[in-house]
């Protein structure tokens, strides 16, 4: 089986990528026409990879379960995209972006990959502007920036609260140009159900047409998995309903190692859960923390009165409020990284200071920002003797221009006006830093099989900084894979078309068909959602924001038992040979039920707290995460051997030559 060789090029950090590009093999344009590439997933990573590879001349097939590539969940990213452009002249550089990302990831990411990410970040912005992505601009016509959590510079480019949408539509337009040229064949409403290996190399996939139910064989010289993250293992998350781990999990079962599955990001600013019917959680952009202040009441009796509806937050005097992030982390205040902000919210709510009926919410308050912006407006508009009320109204207008769509979204969901009363927020599962293990070339442990974007593990360590997911997806797709895949494909110029009538394809298709038929023939008593919700509850309670050995051991055995129950008692109505969303969900939940166990196993083995992984046994007296660099400064890459419980651990040691490893402090 595979061996962990990260294939990081020699030489100084800043020269590695350039030198590597100069030395790797190229495929000449005439030969590219004879090479096929499959890209699974059409979000920022998959879409950008597909567009660029097709421009280079390869024949690309893309697969997405949605009815259009434009609907991939990258579209929901709100806040922005980082790039070390230093347009603000505030001291930004490639090195600083690299440094912030490694530090933000709590020193669990690979140095060389992160540096390359920072290095190409500026180019992403150039590229997107050239495509016609309408980023926010200043009156002088130049691009505007804002600041995000965990950093001290303004390097985030944005398009109101719809940055992901605009970037994805840019990427989609680049794909459309290639579809029009016939270089990309786009398979929508298709789901990849397995990868096919021939002589140990990834040579194709089995996909199901979600409209007709037909099982299809597609061959290629290389396969890219860009299917996103696995946050839906928690049932409730900010992911789209269809987001799933199936593509990544199926390739894991065929030999690709799965790295750091327990590194999950719980985003601090989501709309709290309202009831049992809840199907998903909605994020409020982190950019709101630029202007919103997070607080809970100082006194338990006030919190109780608020929960019972006897007291309104606006009635509480300034000195009775606990701005706990500003109190605990004066240097970064409300802009601490996401893991720190989330845990601090949980800490206050667990201590009884929560402010909604479930006790799981804190306030995000804009009243100070209204006054600050209002006073600025009074000054620029030369209004004399403005009243408090006038100032507040002027300030509200400024805030509306910045975050209007987010405020509107909040009001529609919660039915409260955030201009009049503070927003209520609570952390929710948002992003998974873990994923398929890849080397410097983004190749998994299976030759010819690549992973990009959230689906791989490479750049964010144990915690991702805000506005870095969009950056990574596009970096991988536009600027990394098109080079590194050429190096591999240079050996395939004489291979010719890969046939789909081989025993390997037969076998893969037979297994898929068997599984699908088993689902509809089980005729049990409980729906797929019933199992998914139960899995989510185990994950959230025992493998969520804070974890301990006892809970993790319980989770492992509970998930295993639940999985057995699922296979015996699931009820999937409808047919295999036609459109059947329940059948689609069954396949996805079956995979989550396996991944969940590996996830808990990984969390149990990592006896330290770092980034989004918080083990209660390993914390400082002040309740901060306690890392163990001596024993755990490595990537945990798991090899599948039959059951999640039997997964074999491989370690990639992390070496930091260009950055001093420190205790992460935002105080």
């Amino acid at each position: 089986m595979g061996v962990l060789d990260s294939k990081v090029p020699q030489g100084p950090l800043a020269d590695k990528w350039v030198n590597h590009k100069n030395k790797i093999n190229l495929v000449n344009p005439a030969n590219k026409r004879n090479i096929d590439i499959i890209v699974v997933g059409t979000g920022l990573a998959g879409g950008s990879a597909a567009a660029t590879l097709a421009e280079l001349g390869y024949n690309v097939k893309t697969f997405c379960y949605q009815d259009s590539p434009r609907r991939a969940h990258s579209i929901a990213a709100q806040g922005g995209i980082n790039a070390a452009k230093n347009y603000q002249g505030d001291g930004d550089s490639d090195y600083r972006l690299f440094y912030d990302t490694v530090k933000g990831g709590d020193y669990r990411a690979r140095e060389s990959n992160v540096y390359r990410l920072a290095e190409v970040s500026g180019n992403i912005i150039d590229q997107c502007v050239a495509q016609g992505v309408p980023f926010a601009r200043e009156y002088g016509g130049l691009l505007d920036n804002r600041s995000f959590g965990g950093v001290l510079v303004s390097r985030t480019f944005y398009a109101k609260g719809q940055t992901g949408q605009q970037l994805l539509l840019g990427c989609y337009s680049a794909m459309n140009r290639q579809i029009n040229r016939g270089k990309i064949k786009s398979y929508t409403r298709h789901e990849m159900l397995d990868v096919v290996l021939v002589d140990g190399k990834a040579r194709g996939i089995i996909a199901r047409d979600l409209v007709t139910g037909e099982i299809e064989r597609h061959s290629a010289h290389a396969v890219v998995i860009a299917s996103g993250g696995y946050g839906n293992v928690f049932y409730l998350s900010t992911n789209a309903m269809g987001s799933n781990v199936t593509a990544a999990w199926k390739v894991h079962k065929k030999g690709a190692f799965f790295a750091n599955p327990c590194f999950t990001q719980i985003h601090p600013t989501c709309i709290p859960v309202s009831g049992d019917h809840q199907s998903k959680l909605t994020l409020m952009s982190e950019s709101l923390r630029n202007d919103g202040r997070i607080w809970v009441p100082k006194k338990l009796e006030d919190a109780k009165a608020i929960r019972e509806g006897r007291l309104k937050p606006t009635q509480l005097a300034e000195e009775d409020r606990d701005y706990y992030l500003e109190r605990r982390y004066p240097a970064f205040g409300n802009l601490v990284p996401r893991d720190v902000a989330s845990r601090a919210a949980k800490e206050r709510c667990d201590a009884g200071f929560g402010v909604n009926k479930t006790g799981e919410a804190v306030y995000l308050d804009f009243s100070a920002a209204f006054m600050r912006y209002g006073r600025e407006a009074v000054s620029t508009q030369k209004i004399e003797n403005a009243s408090e009320e006038q100032i507040r109204e002027l300030g509200k207008a400024v805030v509306e221009a910045k975050y209007g769509n987010l405020f509107q979204m909040y009001e529609k969901i919660v039915d409260e006006n955030p201009y009049e009363t503070p927003m209520k927020i609570y952390p929710a599962v948002h992003y998974t830093m873990g994923g398929l293990w890849v080397d410097y070339n983004l190749q998994t442990t299976v030759p010819g099989l690549y992973a990009a974007g959230e689906a791989n593990f490479s750049d964010h360590g144990a915690n991702r900084l805000g506005a870095s997911a969009l950056m990574q997806g596009l970096a991988d797709g536009y600027f990394v894979l098109p080079y590194t895949m050429g190096d591999y494909l240079a050996n395939d110029i004489r291979t010719g078309r890969i046939p789909t009538d081989s025993p390997e394809f037969d076998e893969a298709e037979r297994k898929i068909r068997e599984q699908l038929e088993r689902f509809v023939n089980t005729k049990g008593t409980k729906s797929v959602d019933y199992f998914h919700k139960r899995l989510g509850k185990v994950m959230w309670d025992k493998v969520g924001m804070s974890r301990n050995a006892t809970g993790l051991k319980e989770a492992i055995s509970e998930i295993k038992a639940l999985r057995e129950e699922f296979w015996k008692d699931v009820r999937v109505p409808g047919i295999v040979d036609g459109m059947n969303p329940e059948l689609e969900k069954a396949g996805r939940v079956a995979d989550f039920l396996e991944l969940g166990e590996l996830f808990a196993k990984d969390a149990l083995h990592r006896e330290e707290s770092c980034g989004g992984h918080f083990r209660e046994e390993f914390q400082t007296e002040e309740g901060e995460a306690l890392r163990d660099d001596e024993n755990f400064m490595y990537v945990a890459a798991w090899e599948y051997t039959g059951e999640p419980a039997d997964a074999v651990l491989h370690k990639e040691d992390l070496v930091y030559e260009n950055i001093e490893v420190k205790t992460r402090s935002y105080k």
Binding site: I75, G132, R137, G141, N176, G578, M579
Partner: protein, 247 residues
């Protein structure tokens, strides 16, 4: 609250569909419309029936997957939201709600409430892009200043989510609002100007080929659009089209 739901059921693209009536109890005002349908589907599965199939994904109003004609209106009675953001507090106990797929010749029904919107894909593929390679050899992003009002106008046009509500709202099933949003975004930016003529001609030609109707300035599309895409975009596209055709 208790509701009577009249829902379009259709086995597949070739079968004939019909409205079926369901009673649903215990719906909470804080539920989204789709969560209400989840509850119905759970009941149907428990009874051994096939659940109602509908399109949905992000459930936060941005992916454009969800559709539904609710009591005759695309995305239902609320304004500025998609069906997934529509909440049951917009309805009353005892209400009867009719739920149908988006209706248009260019949006054939696939199953129940799911329609095929690939005609939108083909319109975008015909020319909804700037012909620039993603090689990374582009000029610095700040080398082309763009006036803020133009950039903002391009942005507002670009916020179209491609859901198809404009088509479903239009008595002619016209896709002018959808097509013009992309044409406008590109026409307003210097990056898109170079190919503006070719783009508008190709996209309009494809739109007609797909079987969408013409625009008669009724304005229903703008009112029903969950993202508030403005009719001005249609005017701009007409101008662009006229200019390109007489060249």
């Amino acid at each position: 609250m208790n509701l009577t739901l009249k829902i379009w059921r259709q086995k597949d693209a070739t079968s004939k569909g019909a409205i079926q009536t369901y009673q649903l109890e215990g719906v909470e005002p804080d539920m989204s419309f789709l969560e209400m349908l989840d509850v119905l589907n759970q009941e149907l599965i428990d009874k051994g029936e096939e659940p109602v199939v509908f399109d949905h994904d992000c459930r936060e109003g941005i992916c454009g997957t969800c559709s539904l004609q609710i009591n005759g209106e695309p995305h239902g009675p609320d304004r500025g939201v998609t069906t997934c953001q529509l909440h049951m507090r917009m309805f009353k106990d005892g209400d009867t709600i009719t739920i149908e797929p988006f209706r248009a010749k260019a949006f054939p029904v696939i199953k129940d409430l799911v329609v095929d919107r690939s005609s939108f894909e083909r319109i975008q593929q015909a020319g909804g892009y700037v012909s620039v390679n993603t090689s990374g050899n582009t000029q610095d992003a700040n080398s082309i200043p763009i006036a803020k009002d133009k950039a903002d106008a391009a942005f507002y046009a670009a916020t179209c989510i491609g859901c198809g509500a404009c088509v479903a709202a239009c008595k002619n099933a016209s896709a002018m609002l959808f097509t013009s949003a992309k044409v406008s975004q590109m026409a307003l930016l210097p990056q898109g100007e170079v190919e503006a003529d070719r783009r508008v001609l190709a996209m309009v030609e494809q739109m007609d080929k797909e079987g969408f109707g013409n625009c008669t300035n009724t304005g229903a599309c703008e009112i029903e659009c969950p993202k508030g895409i403005s009719l001005e975009n249609i005017a701009r596209m007409n101008r662009e089209y006229l200019r390109a055709s007489v060249k």
